[in-house]
Symmetry: C2
Subunit: 356 residues, 2 copies
C-alpha cells in the first residue's frame, strides 16, 4: 500500500500531519513518501507539479493531498500557479471520478447558515466528472473573433466537450454509488441550452437501463442550484459534469457550514485515487495550529475504503471522528459556545486516542 503524501501549501502540511498520524496507528503497513506540490513545488523545483512529484504520484496506489495556493504565488503566470498542480494530477492520473460527500453531522447543525430543519442530517453525494468538459476541451485561447457583430475584435474562447465513453464511465460510477446508498440519482445538465448536455442526458438515460433498481431524474443546473438551497435533503446522489460539479459541490459543501469536515476522493478506472479535503489552503490561518484536520483525516478514511478496500479501517476512522465530535471537541471553524475549542494537533491526537 504505497501512498504519496503531497501536503502542498498553507494549512496543507499541518492537516496532512494529523492524517498521517492516524494512518500510522491503524496497524496496517503503509509505505508513505512525501513530495512538494503547488506553491511548495514551485518554490522547490520551479513548477507546481514537479516531475519527481508526478512520478511519485504515478507510482503510488493512492495520493493523500493537502491543499495548494498561497498569496505569494498569485501573481505568477497561470501555467505556474499552484492550482495547475491539481488539474495536472487529475488529467495525468486519469482521475475522472470525483466523489464529494456533503454531510452535516447532527452535532454541527448550528454551524450552517441554513435553518436546522432544512439541513440537519443532510447526506448528499456529488459525483463530478473531473477530466473532461470545458476544463480541458481544445481548442481554447484568445484569438481574433472570426464572425458575428464583434468580428475582428479579440475574443476569449473555450470548448465544452463530452464523448460518449466519458459520460458512460462517470454514469456507471454514479449509479453504483447510488445503489450503495438511497438508490436515487439526479443527473444535472443544461439540456435545454447546451448540445453537450443534451447528449449527456441521452447517454445517462441509456446507462440507466443497466441499473433498474436506481431511480433516475434529470434536473437543469440552475434549478439544481435552487433546490440545493430550498430542500437539499431531497437529494441522494447527484451526477454532473466538471464545470457544473465545481459550482454545485462547493455550494452543497457550504450548506453544511462545516466545510472543514468534508473529504473528497478522485478516482481512476481501477480505483486508484487522490484524496483531499474539500476546503482550500487557507493561507490566512496557516502555521497557527488552528486548522481543522478532520476533512483530511476523513479523506484518509475514503482512501482506505475506495482504493484499499479496507472498509473496516475506514469505519473505525469515521467512528473515531464522530466520537471526538460527541466529546464536544471543536476546532475554531466549528466552535460554538458550550463546546471545547482545540487546535489542529489536539484534534488529531483526540482522533488517535478514540481509535485506540
Amino acid at each position: 500500500m504505497k501512498i504519496a503524501i503531497l501536503p502542498g501549501d498553507g494549512i496543507g502540511p499541518e492537516i496532512i500531519a494529523q492524517a498521517v498520524k492516524v494512518l500510522n496507528v491503524l496497524g496496517e503497513s503503509f509505505e508513505l513518501e512525501t513530495a512538494p506540490v503547488g506553491g511548495a513545488g514551485y518554490a522547490a523545483h520551479g513548477h507546481p507539479l514537479p516531475d519527481g512529484t508526478l512520478a511519485l504520484a504515478k507510482a503510488a496506489d493512492a495520493v493523500l493531498f493537502g491543499a495548494v495556493g498561497d498569496y505569494q504565488y498569485d501573481t505568477l503566470e497561470r501555467a505556474l500557479r499552484p492550482e495547475q498542480a491539481i488539474l495536472g494530477l487529475r488529467k495525468q492520473l486519469g482521475l475522472f471520478g470525483n466523489l464529494r460527500p456533503a454531510i452535516l453531522y447532527p452535532e454541527l447543525a448550528g454551524a450552517s447558515t441554513l435553518k436546522p430543519e432544512v439541513v440537519s442530517g443532510l447526506d448528499i453525494l456529488i459525483v463530478r466528472e473531473l477530466t473532461g468538459d470545458i476544463y480541458f476541451g481544445q481548442p481554447r485561447g484568445v484569438r481574433e473573433c472570426p464572425d458575428g457583430p464583434f468580428k475582428g475584435q479579440r475574443e476569449g474562447y473555450d470548448t465544452m466537450r463530452y464523448a460518449e465513453g466519458e459520460i458512460r464511465r462517470i454514469a456507471h460510477v454514479a449509479f453504483q454509488a447510488a445503489q450503495k446508498r438511497g438508490k436515487r440519482l439526479t443527473s444535472v445538465d443544461k439540456a435545454n441550452v447546451l448540445e453537450t448536455f443534451q447528449f449527456w442526458k441521452d447517454i445517462v438515460t441509456d446507462v440507466h437501463k443497466e441499473y433498474p433498481d436506481v431511480a433516475l431524474d434529470h434536473m437543469y443546473v440552475d434549478n439544481a442550484a435552487m433546490q440545493l438551497v430550498r430542500a437539499p435533503k431531497k437529494f441522494d446522489v447527484i451526477v454532473t459534469g466538471n464545470m457544473f460539479g465545481d459550482i454545485l459541490s462547493d455550494c452543497a459543501a457550504m450548506l453544511t457550514g462545516s466545510i472543514g469536515m468534508l473529504p473528497s476522493a478522485s478516482l481512476d478506472a481501477s480505483n486508484k485515487g487522490l484524496y483531499e479535503p474539500s476546503h482550500g489552503s487557507a493561507p490566512d490561518i496557516a502555521g497557527k495550529g488552528i486548522a481543522n484536520p478532520l476533512a483530511t483525516i476523513l479523506s484518509a478514511a475514503m482512501m482506505l475504503r475506495y482504493t484499499f478496500n479496507k472498509n473496516e479501517q475506514a469505519d473505525r476512522i469515521e467512528t473515531a471522528v464522530k466520537s471526538v465530535l460527541a466529546q464536544g471537541l471543536r476546532t475554531a471553524d466549528i466552535f460554538e459556545p458550550g463546546t471545547t475549542k482545540v487546535g489542529t494537533e489536539e484534534m488529531g491526537n483526540a482522533v488517535v486516542k478514540a481509535l485506540a
Copy 2:
C-alpha cells in the same frame, strides 16, 4: 409608450393580467398589444416565437413577459420547446444586459431557508450577460470525436466565447448600476481554468479605470456559490457571464425564499427591455388563481424605471407593493401563520388600491 404583452403559459396569463391592471391605473397612456409566446405560441402558430409575436416585440418599446413552459410541450423537439422563445427574443432584440435583483423584504425574512440574521435585508443585484457565452457560441452539436482517447466515438460539444466589446458593454452596465447603489462590484469568473474568463477578467479590470468610485473585486464562480450561501449580504452588485449568471442568479433568488417577489429586466444598448418575473410558469398551480403576481407587477415597475425613465411611477408601484406586504396580505407561496392569505386577483386589486 408601446408595450408588447406576452403572457405565455402556465400562470403567465394570470399574473400578467394583474400587472396590466396596475399599469392601467397609473394615469399614463400606454399602448398595449398582446401576442402568444412559448407553448401558447406553438399551439396558435406552430412555433414558440411566432413571426407576429417577434414583430410585435421588435416594434414595441418594451416587452412585458409572463412565463413559458407547460407539461404538454416537454416532448417537443428542442427547437420547438417553449424556452426557445425566450432565447430567441433575447438574441433577436439584442437584450444583452440582464438585471436580476435578489431582495428580501423584511416582512418575508421567515420565508427563506436561511437563518434570518444571514438574509434579512438582503439586497443584491446580479448583472448577467444574456446574449453571448456558451448559450449561443458556434460551433456546437454532436459529432465524431476528432482526437484523444475517445477518438471516433460520438461527442457533444459547445463553444464558450466572449468578444472584447461584449464584455465591455456588460461591464459598463454593471459599473453604472453599482454607482447608483453601494458602489461595490464583484466580477465572477473562472479565470484559473477558462481562457474566456481570464479574458473577461482582464477586460473588466480595464473598464474599471473609467469607474474609480466603484470598488471592484474578482471571485471564482465556485467560491461565489459558496459565499452566496455563507454571507450573501456581503455582495452589492455581481456581474458575470450568461452561464454562470444563470446558476448564480437562481441561487441568489432562492436565498430569499420568495422568488415569487423577484422581477427582472433584460436590456438592449438603448434601454429597450424585456421585463419578466424571475420565477417560472408553475404549470402545477396554473388556473387556480393562487399565483403570486407581485414579481410581475415589480417587473412592470422596472420597465417604467429603465425603459421609460418614469422613476416616480416606478417608485409608486414599489411603495404600493411594500404597503400590501405591510398590511399582511400574502399569496400562498409566501404565506405564514398570522398573515392573510389572498389569491392572485385579490393581491393585484390590493396593489391597485394602494396606488390610489
